[in-house]
Symmetry: C2
Subunit: 209 residues, 2 copies
């Protein structure tokens, strides 16, 4: 099947949303926890998280066009911090429910049954049920004027992961940890390892590690 | 295991690279095809592709700090277009080899055995062996000054995918298509579907589709 530019523009809205959201491949899917200045907790589902750098440790994600109120964007801008929490198969439906449009000030933690967890001095709540989670402080916000979305860049300031899943060279075994992936807007998947490969060099054959 | 900010900063470089690259969860992994003004083909491996919008259809990815020469960044800036190609299990080692640092002007297609494919008037080469692929035109380039990386935003102008994998509502069944996912810098995975969920609404129970 081939879709040209005109075809893409003329697709029915929901069909196009499903097609374009799945086109890029499997995605990270995480719950982002924040707290408003008024003290209300918020938990949102995001599938656009990406790696920006390891040293300093930076990651980014995209927030849809939205008013800055007591929501993920408003809370991050106002408090400067947020948590990112992986999703396990046993609570993927609860996690998906966090994408519903609850009224301002309503906590998705309460509505979906997740337990807010406060660790050290991080103001934003973690998800207690997640086994891999990390906290970020806001370092840059970029408005993408093309379509009104916002790129939030965070510096990773605390990491929590099961010791048994951290390999000797630092790789977190996400499959062992049970973290899931998603495709499109609503399809969730577990993984099966194919292999881990040696560092690629010119004129040297790749080996399985 | 808990890593605080100081711990993260003091980790051994390679350990930190593996840890931070795997921390965000499973990722899209794709081959990006470009062509230089001099006519040399380039094929690079990227795992930072993310969705920005469905209408217009935009995606983005991060390129490491790099000179603009006959490489992915230089070619995109000079020609204004690129292709994104999914990876199948049968050629994941070849795809990984595309991350080796070949000299300027050397084609990863030739070195790793992929077949460049030209479709209609798109200047950038697709990967013939890929079964899901799409072409983008450059619409914005954002320099992330924090660490010298570049965010490339593309508008999706052509999509090619097996008809049998496109569901009635537009979702591409990536698992059926055989697309793989990755974690960290070098770990590759296939997927097993957990479920597809109904659109989340306040006070309505999520259903499996």
């Amino acid at each position: 099947m081939i879709y040209n530019q005109n075809d893409i523009e003329n697709l029915e809205t929901r069909f196009r949303a499903n097609l374009i959201n799945s086109l890029g491949g499997f995605k990270s899917v995480v719950l982002i926890g924040t707290k408003s200045l008024q003290g209300n907790e918020n938990l949102g589902l995001f599938s656009s998280l990406f790696h920006i750098g390891a040293n300093p440790a930076y990651c980014g994600f995209i927030i849809r066009p939205n008013e800055e109120k007591q929501n993920t964007l408003g809370n991050i801008v106002n408090t400067g911090n947020f948590t990112i929490n992986h999703i396990l198969p046993e609570f993927y439906k609860q996690a998906h429910q966090c994408s519903a449009k609850y009224d301002e000030g309503i906590s998705e933690f309460k509505k979906t049954g997740f337990t807010p967890q406060y660790i050290d001095l991080i103001e934003a709540p973690f998800v207690e049920e997640s086994n891999i989670k990390f906290a970020c402080e806001l370092v840059q916000r970029i408005n993408i004027e093309l379509n009104g979305t916002t790129l939030v860049i965070g510096k990773i300031i605390k990491i929590i992961a099961p010791e048994s899943c951290i390999q000797n060279d630092g790789l977190i075994d996400l499959e062992e940890a049970g973290s899931i992936t998603c495709s499109g807007l609503d399809s969730y998947h577990q993984t099966n390892k194919i292999g881990r490969l040696s560092y690629a060099k010119v004129d040297k054959e790749i080996k399985e590690l």
